[in-house]
Amino acid sequence: MNSPSKVPVTILTGFLGSGKTTLLNRILSEEHGKRIAVIENEYGEVGIDQALVINADEEIFEMSNGCICCTVRGDLIRVLGNLMKRRDKFDYILLETTGLADPGPVAQTFFMDDEIASEFSLDGIVTLVDAHHINQQLGRSLESTEQIAFADVILLNKTDLVKAEELDELETRLREMNRLARVHRCERANVAISTVLNLEAFNLDQVLADHPTFLEPEYPFEWTGVYALSPGSYELSLDDGPDPTMSLVMLERLDPNEEALQQGAEWCVRRYAEPASKISPGNIVPIDQHVELQLQISGQKSFAIEIDKQTSLALFAQHTAEEFNLRLGASDNAEVLPVLERTWVAQHEHDDEVGSVAIEVDGDVNPNKLNAWLGKLLREKGIDIFRMKGFLSIAGESQRFVFQGVHMLFDGQPDRPWGNEPRHNQLVFIGRNLDGNTMKREFEACLN
């Protein structure tokens, strides 16, 4: 019997009105060469003819032992069991949950049932968020919080209905609740298909392949402006501001859209880690370099920017343009306005019950102590821990150890060798009422 590879499954969650159906229809109508089967909840309204659409009644089954990690979706076991027999007709499954669904049992179904686990692989959990309403929803409902907490990707949808500052704050709030998730902004669920499908978020081989590090960087810059520039000389002017210097990285050819901005931001984080060259007023600011503008003298300060061919130039600045009244002028003194602006809000505290605990420590862990600690943690807090991911440096092992988990289900395996890299540990837990300081202290006690 030929045993083809497992069929990937993407779970789409989000409150009613968050745009799940729009996203589904978008994916289905796009030319991606995939034959997608859609499993919808009973209120679904996908109307695409070529798709294989199956309705499922949400039926959550607890097992006789009462263990939360054994709680699964019985309807999915039946529906997927039937789909197995027709698997030559599709190669991807989109599973839409009701707005009020707890994603836990859905995700666990793919690990707890042997038959399902042998034929399907959970690819990722995508949560749509209605930017206009999520703040109220988060205050009122457990489910919307859990949907954020379980997500691998959060689509901050309907951004056109919300002011930029509110969006930034909202994004910060979501990131703090779930630091493992990628956040993408969109208007009518108009994201690239690749941001939601084939994430391999539960595949340990892939978990670290895309990201050398887990944690979303805390951006060292607060503001980005993208300018469409023709060849010529430009003047970057700043007035007095809160600091005597300001770090800056300029990138060329950055398309003025959110996706490109995110990629640019990741790239700039690395530039920012490099030592900055000090640039005094009157000098040319080099592109693609970490620079520190010297702003000690009072009054307006100007720097030169030379552009040799038509480009889209992005300034990733340590402070917001407003703080220094930063502006760009062309050679004829006409002000050039940015085509796109974005602020990267600094981290600050929210009082959400659900949050992320990130532990990052150098050194080797003692496997016995670690097992005892993890065992105790999952026993006592397993219900409150929605997702976890990370890697460990285990004493005596030459390879990194990668792990991921959903509630009490834990999955881990050795990863690439450490080589010359400094041995360290990174663990991220998304959960409810987690005591980060205690967890960190207890983890550190597991170190050799």
Partner: protein, 348 residues
């Protein structure tokens, strides 16, 4: 132990015929005293083959849009009932494939269908509701909604039907539609088998256990420790043996004396993949088993549940189900590759 060689049947199994359907076969059944064998598949077609030569006798390509879910043959072998994802029940004349009646059951999948023992009634389930129909396809009554989707149904007698869903087995008086009895167990029940004498109800549960109740005295027990969920259960004709498949081995419990509590079950080891079908012969303690990696074995079992293989044969795909011909002189298997394999069974 038989050793399976490609395309070669061993022991009591002798090659009969091989036929194929175009899609995944979901259900099969012998009709007209074994003269024909019918198959319904995932494309929604129902077709019948000559039981000896394998020649195709009739085919209805669009029996159920979306695919067949289940089929059942009437006790006289003259009618075939099929249900599908189109929400319908269809009744066919087994001899020529003529549609006799089509009944709209509901908007969702109709997952199960079973003829009563006399052939006077049919039971079907769609979602959480069970409906009883006459042999001509007229609805007689429908149950209230079960608490979750009905996962299996089986007739106990001509007047009593049993159903399983999450957490319970329900018995209905099919004349009145009233509940006779309810057996509860907090677990997702995925399979159901009734002993032919009507006393024992056995259910396989998602949590890898088999739970059973004796209706005569209300006593219930649980057997756990299966490596897979026991989705396959079969009772022998004399109600003594319960064969269970929840993994690669077949575990056989004997209800002789005060068993199976406190006894050691018989374990039949041969298959190298999880068991996907079990069927006892209608007259003897002979068990046919199929597994997910293509292999059918016929076993002879003792009263204590132990046994030995009488013969076996390989098939290409995962065995979806096995069916004894009414006289038990032939055995049919349908597999995931679309194969229909029929063997003659030598007299033992």
């Amino acid at each position: 132990m038989p050793k399976l060689v490609k395309n070669k049947a061993h022991g009591v199994l002798q090659n009969g015929f091989f036929a194929a359907v175009d899609d995944y076969p979901i259900a099969g059944g012998w009709g007209l005293n074994g003269k024909l064998f019918a198959v319904g598949d995932a494309s929604g077609s129902v077709q019948a083959f000559d039981g000896t030569s394998g020649r195709k006798i009739w085919k209805n390509s669009e029996a159920h849009v979306g695919g067949i879910m289940s089929m059942s043959v009437s006790s006289n072998g003259k009618q075939l009932a099929s249900v599908g994802q189109d929400g319908q029940l269809a009744l066919w004349d087994f001899a020529d494939g003529q549609l006799q009646h089509r009944t709209e059951i509901g908007s969702g999948w109709v997952e199960h269908v079973a003829w009563s023992k006399s052939g006077n009634h049919l039971a079907v389930s769609s979602g959480r509701v069970v409906t009883i129909l006459s042999s001509s396809g007229e609805k007689i009554w429908s149950s209230e909604s079960h608490p979750s989707t009905v996962s299996a149904l089986e007739w106990v007698t001509d007047q009593e039907l049993s159903t399983t869903c999450y957490g319970r087995v329900t018995f209905f008086n099919t004349s009145s539609g009233k509940e006779n009895e309810r057996l509860e167990w907090q677990g997702s029940l995925v399979s159901l088998a009734l002993s032919p004498d009507g006393n024992v109800v056995a259910c396989g549960s998602q949590d890898k256990s088999v739970h059973f109740w004796r209706r005569s005295n209300g006593q219930d027990s649980m057997m756990s420790g299966y490596p897979w969920k026991p989705s396959e259960l079969a009772f022998s004709h004399d109600s003594i043996l319960l064969a269970t498949g929840g993994g690669e081995d077949i575990t056989v419990w004997s209800f002789e004396g005060s068993g199976p509590e406190g006894t050691t079950p018989g374990v039949l080891e041969f298959h190298k993949a999880p068991i996907s079908s079990l069927a006892f012969s209608h007259h003897q303690r002979h068990l046919a088993s199929g597994c997910r990696e293509g292999g059918v074995v016929v076993w002879s079992l003792g009263r204590r549940g132990g046994g030995h293989a009488l013969g076996g044969a390989p098939v290409n795909g995962s065995v979806e189900n096995v069916y004894w011909r009414p006289d038990c002189r032939s055995l049919a298997a349908i597999d995931s590759e679309g194969g229909i394999t029929v063997w003659r069974v030598k007299k033992i």
